[in-house]
């Protein structure tokens, strides 16, 4: 069983997202430790990119703060290498195609394997373009995570059949960021995916409250929470680790309550 599959084994996974280097890499490292301690089953780590076209204002802000600190892809690899001695939780990178391509796809995934990264999410690489990245990623045991959106319709079968690790189900149209109301049709999306594969589905985009997270995990295999956590980091900066920890704890408790 891959490490990512283990995260979903007999439980609903809670998946937090943070941007590496926001506000600095030392804090990121502490946050990762807190996330694991408080029950994160898998952690999504954003490598900052200058122009994150799939992100809403909150995560755009995190990218800008990280890049202002001159955080590079190499710095992120070094941080992951350090934190890997402290945590066991599966780690998945989230970044944009150019960050990987420009680093050298082979070199990037070789480094991923060396520092202990288990998967990669590239929101600007759809099914049609994934071979360029996936072939190399799988050579280094990094799962290329596929995304499915409310607009995917007849594309769901084709994407689900080739999916690895987990499937990132995009809850609603638009970019990342909190939403007051989540689309009711997500359950149908998940059902359509399950006709094609046993790979677990986690729902992301717009989940900000413990109730929403519990509900989304209930109809799928897990929930991804990004902007709501990044906002805590934005507010508390270097003091964020413990605050993020208690936020995640609350989210996890809601899981058990439901």
């Amino acid at each position: 069983m891959s490490k990512i599959a283990e995260a979903f084994n007999n439980k609903k996974a809670f998946i937090p997202f943070i941007t590496c280097g926001d506000p600095d890499l030392e804090t990121t490292e502490k946050i990762i430790v807190e996330l694991e301690k408080n029950g994160a089953d898998l952690i999504e780590l954003g490598i900052p990119f200058s122009d994150p076209t799939a992100e809403g204002p909150v995560i755009q802000g995190a990218n800008i703060r990280a890049l202002k600190n001159k955080i590079t892809t190499d710095d992120v690899f070094d941080m992951v290498k350090r934190v890997r001695y402290k945590v066991q939780v599966p780690l998945v990178f989230m970044t944009y195609a150019n960050v990987v391509f420009s680093y050298g796809t082979g070199r990037f995934f070789e480094k991923c394997k060396n520092v202990g990264i288990d998967g990669i999410i590239l929101p600007d690489v759809p099914f049609e373009e994934k071979a360029e990245f996936e072939e190399t990623a799988s050579k280094y045991d990094v799962d290329f995570i596929s995304m499915i959106a409310p607009t995917s319709k007849e594309r769901i079968d084709m994407i689900a059949k080739e999916a690895k690790g987990f499937i990132y189900v995009v809850s609603s149209l638009g970019v990342t960021g909190a939403r007051t109301k989540l689309d009711e049709s997500i359950a149908n999306l998940v059902e359509q995916v399950r006709k094609n594969t046993d790979v677990p589905c986690a729902v992301g985009f717009g989940i900000s409250t413990p109730e929403q997270a519990a509900k989304m995990a209930d109809i799928s295999d897990g929930a991804i929470v990004g902007s709501a956590i990044v906002r805590v980091i934005e507010e508390y900066g270097k003091d964020a680790p413990s605050k993020v920890g208690s936020f995640v704890k609350e989210m996890k408790e809601a899981y058990h309550a439901s």
């Binding site: 150019n98 990987v100 680093y103 360029e132 607009t151």
Partner: protein, 597 residues
């Protein structure tokens, strides 16, 4: 993806080309019987110029191990490749010193292949001869090898793709195949790398121009671009659609645009005859209307009721707002905040035409960020909305659709010049940001090999400064805004903040078809600075009584340089992509005069 080793580099220009192409490895030959032999001192100098992401391989033929170790310790080479009769003990000694080793074997007999398979070296290379570029006789033999290998021997841009398909190697090695007269040939190096990397891209990928193009966008948008492609393929050959579009172009936009003989300019420069393709005379004042009328009509046929667009100088925004008004559609235009200030008049025009203008404050608050914001908006609202992209960029099918709608420029100019001169021009010059007026100006001449195609990029304060937007001249290959192409970026792929006096050319990328025309050498892309463009802006006003857009003035500036070097019986066509009223205040400021609009 197949790795690439460009072997036998000996000159600084070879390293510069390699830095641009970024193969995984390059090779220095340390063998004094080889014509590609380099001295230690030369190799040291070349290595210091090499992009550190590229590994340098030292190629040796029965050299003393101490020589290899010395070069490795001094960081002149990162890997050793052994091409002689080095035995396993020799290999072991190097590997014990942490030197990665590639051992070469001749792939002409099964016995030799078995030896190769058993070698302790980190990597094996299979070659036919001793590096003279002899091809391996039976490539199928190699499919039995049960470990990764690098394929060498007689590879070139023509045969490499099929050799990869047959043998599925870890990597390919080339030296003779990228040479002309015993020296490395930049064009062959580019073609070779393109041919290999094509193999790495998915066969499912659509809209490729060589290695460039594709559809690098979120899943949320995939069905929207697929529907657009389907609709376009249906309507582009639909007589009814074409009749409507031609009617709009001729009776609303004022096509065909004039091909005007610039007599005074020609006489003043004293060289080639200069014709100006007057896109500035179109309704709304630029070439942008050609594409917008096509896309708006297409969107309407698809049942969309709302157009969104990005704009730099405001010309595309004005054109989109115009088409929306005419066809009764809603319109929202995203414009970098900085550009709304540089081009206040165009902001007012868009509002007057009924559009909402949204100033974009993210990033550098220029065209790049306007594109990002329009893309974000499109993922939020797809059902009733068409993203009317203004240039030959973004994900497939946009580069093709926009090119086809802009190709009317060269379709007309080709006919016009044949009528006026009875012959084709010697050069066609246009400015390039994303590159829509340039591709439109070039398209119908691409097959005419005698016609030089020249794109003028905005060099800003110069290509040796950071304040430039000359993508082809200063950028490298990357993936952004839905496409693979050349982009101005840092070593980690962060998109660079670019600069040009011209808001319309102030973009860090270039359309994928231009990137391809550059790769294959069919078009050349030259940098033109702010200073040169402003001079040309004033020159053409005084000489021909034409106030051309500052974007178009980049093309005029290069024509000013080129024409005097040509004969009087030669012909240049320069596309004046737009009119310059919008720029007057900014140029006045550039010259230190503060005027109020």
């Amino acid at each position: 993806m197949t790795t690439i080793k460009l072997c036998g580099l000996t000159r600084e220009e070879d390293i510069k080309t390699a830095n641009k192409l970024k193969p995984e490895y390059i090779g220095f030959v340390f063998y004094d019987k080889s014509r590609r032999n380099v001295t230690k001192a030369k190799a040291k100098q070349l290595k210091s110029m090499l992009n550190p992401e590229i590994k340098a391989v030292g190629v040796f033929v029965d050299a003393p191990a101490s020589q290899v170790e010395e070069l490795f310790d001094e960081n002149i080479i990162d890997v050793a490749q052994l091409h002689g009769n080095e035995d396993e003990d020799y290999i072991k000694e190097l590997m014990d010193n942490n030197i990665p080793v590639i051992k070469t074997f001749k792939a002409n007999s099964p016995e030799e292949l078995i030896k190769a398979e058993k070698s302790n070296a980190d990597m094996i290379m299979l070659d036919a001869g001793n590096g003279e570029g002899v091809p391996i006789k039976d490539l199928k033999l190699l499919t039995f090898i049960d470990r990764p290998f690098i394929l060498a021997g007689g590879l070139n841009q023509e045969n490499v793709a099929s050799a990869i398909e047959i043998t599925k190697p870890f990597g390919v090695d080339v030296s003779t195949g990228i040479e002309t007269n015993h020296l490395k040939d930049e064009e062959k190096m580019i073609s070779f790398v393109s041919a290999v990397r094509k193999d790495g891209t998915s066969s499912k990928s659509k809209g490729r121009f060589g290695v460039h193009g594709g559809q690098y966008i979120p899943e949320t948008l995939m069905n929207a671009v697929n529907e657009l492609e389907e609709a376009y393929n249906h309507y582009k050959d639909d007589p009814e659609f074409n009749k409507e579009l031609t009617d709009l172009l001729n009776n609303y936009a004022g096509r065909p645009s004039l091909l005007y003989y610039a007599k005074k300019m020609t006489e003043d420069l004293g060289g080639a005859k200069i014709y100006l393709k007057r896109e500035d005379l179109n309704h709304t004042g630029s070439h942008k209307i050609n594409n917008v009328l096509g896309q708006a009509l297409l969107a309407k046929k698809m049942g969309k009721t709302r157009l969104i667009a990005e704009t730099g100088a405001g010309q595309h925004g004005v054109a989109t707002a115009t088409a929306a008004a005419l066809l009764g559609m809603e319109c929202v235009v995203f414009m970098g905040k900085e550009d709304t200030e540089r081009q206040a008049l165009n902001v007012y025009r868009m509002k007057l035409l009924g559009a909402d203008v949204i100033p974009v404050t993210s990033g550098t608050a220029t065209l790049k960020d306007a594109v990002s914001e329009a893309m974000r908006e499109w993922t939020t609202r797809i059902d009733d909305t068409h993203y009317c992209l203004g240039s030959v960029m973004g994900p497939h099918p946009f580069p093709t659709i926009v090119r086809d709608f802009q190709a009317v420029i060269s379709k007309e100019s080709r006919r016009q010049i044949l009528e006026l001169e009875g012959r084709l021009p010697d050069a066609v010059i246009a400015c390039v940001g994303g590159g829509s007026n340039a591709i439109g100006s070039f398209y119908h001449y691409i097959e005419d090999e005698g016609v030089q195609l020249i794109g003028c990029e905005a060099a800003g304060r110069g290509i040796d400064t950071f304040e430039t937007a000359a993508t082809v001249n200063t950028g490298r290959i990357g993936i952004f805004h839905g496409m693979k192409s050349y982009f101005c970026q840092d070593e980690y792929g962060q998109i660079a903040p670019v600069y040009s006096i011209s808001a319309g050319l102030d973009y860090p990328g270039v359309g994928p078809e231009h990137a391809h025309l550059h790769d294959i050498g069919r078009a050349k892309y030259v940098p033109v600075t702010d200073d040169e463009a402003v001079d040309a802006f004033e020159y053409i006003a005084k000489t021909e009584g034409i106030i051309a857009a500052i974007e178009s003035s980049h093309a005029i500036a290069y024509a000013k340089k080129l024409a005097p070097t040509m004969n009087k019986d030669q012909i240049i066509i320069v596309t004046v992509s737009g009119r310059g009223d919008k720029d007057c205040a900014a140029i006045a400021r550039y010259r230190g005069e503060d005027i109020h609009e």
